[in-house]
């Protein structure tokens, strides 16, 4: 279901649509929050942001779109969380043990996946050395414009290289070989 259709129905008083809107947003917010603050508190932040959206969406005017507005709400919640965490870290003793890490990835990827990924990367390195080179640059900490300069490509071409490599990787992980 499209987010704007859900919004229109929910604004018209459809409770099912409002529930679906909440479900729609919470999974997305969780993903975005997890990327910024780690797994531990991403669920809480996502729920909080969704509640704020549901409280205000009926009376709000969205100048740059509903999704941009909801994103602003989420970013504000994440900002408050980070500030609160930093404040706690500053004022609590011992600080190192009492606060959660800002970026954690507690879900360890499966061992099998790791092996499969490495095998696929070996294959891709031979068939698509440009992707391997780009990945290496990313690992070395180069920024997009620096990578583009070193490769002599435009940013658009750079994104194409990345997406081609990703597709190869996905196919390889799925089928065990690069078609």
């Amino acid at each position: 279901m499209d987010i704007n259709q859900l919004l229109t129905r929910a604004r018209a008083g459809d409770e099912e649509a409002e529930k679906a809107l909440f479900q729609y947003l919470v999974v997305r917010f969780r993903l975005l929050a997890k990327r910024r603050i780690g797994v531990e508190d991403s669920e809480d932040i996502a729920q909080e942001a969704c509640l704020t959206v549901l409280e205000k969406y009926k009376n709000e005017t969205f100048t740059s779109g509903f999704e941009a507005w909801t994103y602003g709400v989420l970013k504000m919640k994440i900002g408050n969380y980070i500030q609160g965490t930093l404040h706690k870290r500053k004022h609590s003793v011992p600080a190192a043990e009492s606060h959660p890490k800002l970026r954690t990835e507690s879900e360890e990827p499966a061992h099998d996946l790791k092996i499969a990924l490495i095998l696929c990367l070996r294959k891709i390195t031979k068939q698509n050395p440009l992707y391997a080179r780009v990945l290496n640059f990313v690992h070395q900490g180069y920024k997009t414009d620096e990578i583009c300069q070193r490769l002599g490509v435009t940013p658009n071409h750079y994104y194409v290289i990345l997406n081609r490599g990703r597709k190869m990787l996905e196919t390889c992980l799925e089928k065990g070989e690069i078609s």
Binding site: R122, A132, R133, F137
Partner: protein, 228 residues
Amino acid sequence: MKPVCKDPEIGALLHAYELHALTDEETSRFEIHLIACEHCFNLVQGFQKQAALLLSDETVKALLTEANPEEQARPETVPGSLRQYLWPDIPLVFKPALAYLLILILIIPAYLGLKRTPENAIRTIQSIHLTPFRSVEENAFAKKTGLDGLIQFVFSDAVPGAQYDVRIVSEDERIIYHDKAFDRFDAYGTGSLLLPVAGMEPGRYSLVITDPRGEEPSNRETYHFSVN
């Protein structure tokens, strides 16, 4: 029906987003797109573990470094270093060092101009103030300073604008200064003269003010001062 990307132009940033290779602005654009685009959201969600491995796994890193032995690590930039602060990687017009330089170029001449003008325009002088009353203070100019001397004197009942005879006479009766139409008395009867002290001989001098309209000897006031 399989969803398709709502905006392929932004959707193209997908893998760069997964690899944390976008700028903050691009990240925001892509994340707003993610909220609305089912297709990209599913892709990002389904690739989270792979992306985490690609980004942070040491074996993956080693494999990529091995595959690209000629690529050197990006030179470390010290965050907050003075050079980076003064000359960051931004368009030339926004570089702070350039701004400081331009401000200095503009300020220095203005500062020097302001500093020099009063020095040139106003010369230091030495002054004495002669009153009809006795004073313990010796009315003397110091010749060795090389400064001009301002002599201020009072002539009782002087009328501002009226003309008086003012002369300075040396001990040996030489007239050093003579103005038959001195009219620079203020409302309090005070007049002033600027003397080139450096060019005067050391000795005692008399300042004689005469009202040509009055009767002698009450129309005259005499003061004495010296140049040492």
